[in-house]
């Protein structure tokens, strides 16, 4: 049975990859560029043999590697506070804006773990492997991050 095609992988993951990258960089343009690079690498990797392990985890691993490379190039993390990220439109605009601000207030590692879980849907084991920590550390970090976000967003409800 043939493996996944680039188009399959693109359609399955493009939205969440972009969401993850835009939340991590705070810059839609940078997220656009990085997203394109992610799927370019997917194409190249498929030509060389295909995904390694779980597909979604593999695609998000590529995204994280690109983020790391970008941060190294820029020599600094781009704070979400300086981003051009605009809140979504709709009834929950206030909450959406609050979420942007709340994520901005997190440490980069906490934000990364949180987004890998909430947007990436990765398991604790996959996140631990990606982030170079234990499953227990992922578990406690996620809980702590959620508690903090809950406290930050509570006044907006």
């Amino acid at each position: 049975m043939a493996g996944p095609t680039p188009e399959d992988i693109f359609h399955r993951h493009r939205r969440d990859i972009y969401r993850y990258l835009v939340r991590m960089t705070g810059q839609p343009d940078a997220a656009d560029d990085l997203s394109q690079e992610v799927f370019l690498r997917v194409v190249r990797a498929l030509q060389n043999g295909g995904p390694v392990g779980h597909e979604r985890g593999w695609v998000f691993a590529i995204a994280r590697n690109l983020l790391r490379d970008r941060h190294r190039r820029l020599l600094t993390l781009t704070p979400v506070a300086e981003s051009a990220v605009e809140p979504s439109t709709g009834a929950n605009q206030v909450l959406a804006f609050g979420l942007t601000e709340a994520l901005r207030g997190l440490a980069a590692d906490d934000r990364d773990v949180f987004l890998l879980k909430e947007i990436g849907g990765l398991s604790y084991a996959e996140i631990a492997s990606e982030c170079g920590c234990t499953v227990e550390a992922v578990r406690s970090r996620l809980c702590r991050t959620r508690t903090r976000l809950r406290e930050t967003l509570a006044p907006l409800r």
């Binding site: 939205r15 972009y18 799927f39 370019l40 194409v43 979504s88 979420l99 604790y124 578990r139």
Partner: protein
């Protein structure tokens, strides 16, 4: 069970991780535990509903193997009705044909016919060769068509200075 342990247990359970069901039942039996679970689900819903990050249209991926020029992977394009796309394609083809066949006035006039001061038409657009296609002929090789008629503009009659 401390409050941190309780919240971690509920958080892990709602993340789909394996947890002790008895401990989970105990955690959810407390008001604080249920409040944490509710807040967790509201937060998850807020993140899921966050439409900030919809990829913009026109997202395209170029095939990585540029040397072999396999062409573009157009993995996402703006949706265009087929009728409009077909009309644009026909107009583009007609325009390309017109540009390619148009000749500057007087440039290929019959021998002895007067040339004019009218502006010449732009040179035909060059189309990049497709992989494997034969090389395009140069302009020197092209044989101009026989003019069907000659336009003459007489100064003072057909046009005036400053008009």
């Amino acid at each position: 069970m401390t409050s941190d342990e309780r919240d971690e247990l509920i958080s892990a359970a709602l993340d789909g991780e394996c947890v002790d069901l008895g401990a989970l039942r105990d955690a959810l039996s407390t008001p604080d535990g249920r409040a944490f679970a509710a807040a967790f689900l509201l937060l998850r819903a807020a993140v899921a509903a966050d439409s900030i990050a919809s990829p913009r249209p026109g997202f395209a991926v170029v095939n990585a193997d540029r040397e072999r020029r396999r062409g573009w992977f157009l993995l996402s394009l703006p949706r265009v009705p087929a009728g409009i796309a077909a009309s644009v394609a026909v107009l583009a083809a007609a325009g390309a044909f017109w540009i390619g066949s148009a000749r500057p006035i007087g440039r290929y006039a019959a021998p002895g016919a007067p040339t004019t001061a009218a502006a010449t038409a732009p040179a035909p657009l060059s189309v990049p060769a497709q992989p494997g296609a034969a090389p395009a002929q140069s302009e020197d090789d092209a044989v101009p068509p026989t003019p069907s008629h000659v336009l003459r503009f007489t100064p003072g009659v057909d046009w005036h200075e400053g008009s």
